[in-house]
């Protein structure tokens, strides 16, 4: 590995143990390397900002149709494309408008409020966890039994921020650390029949699963890692 390759492998979380520690020390001692790391983290953030809304956007019509074809039948994509071009043009503006910056399913308005007590607060056009949800994200482990808010998975996103999925009576969602707060990245209505005395289970819902999948870098934390992250203030 060249020193460049090693540096980026470190930045991407591909190095482990002594090698990672060594790089950590090198970077800590070298402002130029720190600057380089920051520039590349910013590049990655920019790529996420631009490409990730695609994952949350609704699919163009032709794609759903293609999947609904009887088994083995071959779709005439030329025809699908022609009909698509003739009708709605699903270029970037449409899906970008729909996806905006946040994935929000159908959630009762009571979830989000500028008042006190609501689990999600709006500030500067962004959604943050508040009240009991904020408390749970800060202090609760996935193993906590019978709490109002249940924590699902904890993991790091590609920028290195810790994210946690949660389920509470009105919605399930994903929040990631932004400064000292939890920014809500997605909120989804609970799957049908799971409202009320809901189960967490794997039934977090397909939308949340896709969001988690597209957000996380690496494996979810195990119980020990989750506890250490709590102790370290979710840095």
């Amino acid at each position: 590995m060249t020193s460049d390759e090693k540096f980026f492998a470190w930045l991407d979380g591909e190095l482990v143990g002594a090698e990672a520690d060594e790089l950590e020390r090198q970077v800590a001692a070298d402002p130029a390397l720190q600057q380089r790391a920051a520039a590349h983290r910013a590049l990655q953030a920019r790529l996420s900002q631009v490409f990730d809304p695609i994952v949350a956007a609704p699919l163009p019509e032709g794609m759903q149709e293609a999947l609904q074809q009887p088994k083995g039948e071959i779709v005439d994509f030329g025809a699908v494309k022609r009909s698509r071009d003739a009708g709605r043009n699903w270029g970037p503006p449409q899906w970008a408008a729909i996806a905006a910056t946040l994935v929000v399913g159908i959630v009762a308005g009571a979830m989000v409020s500028q008042g006190t007590g609501a689990p999600v607060a709006v500030q500067g056009g962004k959604l943050y966890a508040a009240a009991a949800l904020d408390d749970a994200l800060n202090t609760q482990l996935a193993s906590a039994p019978d709490a109002d808010v249940r924590i699902g998975l904890t993991f790091r996103d590609r920028r290195g921020a810790i994210c946690r999925s949660f389920t509470e009576p009105a919605a399930s969602g994903l929040a990631c650390r932004a400064g000292n707060r939890w920014q809500v990245r997605g909120l989804f209505a609970p799957p049908e029949g799971q409202a009320g005395p809901y189960r967490m289970a794997a039934g977090a819902g397909p939308n949340l699963a896709v969001l988690i999948d597209s957000t996380r870098a690496g494996e979810p934390f195990n119980a020990d890692q989750e506890r250490s992250a709590l102790a370290a203030g979710w840095r």
Partner: protein, 165 residues
Amino acid sequence: MAHSEPFEDQLAALLPRLRRFAHALSRNSADADDLTQATIERALRSREQWQHGTRLDSWLYRIMRNLWIDTVRARSRREKIEAPAELADRIGEDPREAIDAAIDLQRIMDSMEQLPGEQREVVALILIEGFGYRETAEILDLPIGTVSSRLVRGRTALLAMVGEQ
């Protein structure tokens, strides 16, 4: 993921991510959606070739990447030089914010387009799709050292382009 789910359902769940990968490879959104369509078609037709117990996402990414290479080859035979469409022609009319987002996406896609294909696919899989080096090496059927060196060149060139915007 439960492998007992029907193939179509598993494929459907992965489509949004595949569509993002298509945008990272393609020169515009229309091409990206055509590529996604073609990948669905190929996956449905070749479903018998996917081995249960192996990762469906890796298999689909590989299909998409190979189709993309075929498309690029066919296109370069067909059109030696093509004047890029004006940005405004490519985005149509829409509210201000959506246009900004679309322009932002198109700018980055234009920069990605400047990278050699072998660097673009590595940058897309690791920096946009979030795959690890080893997973990427498996998808592309390359030695991990090759992935790592292409990634260095690709992201360095991309930063130089994007950093100026």
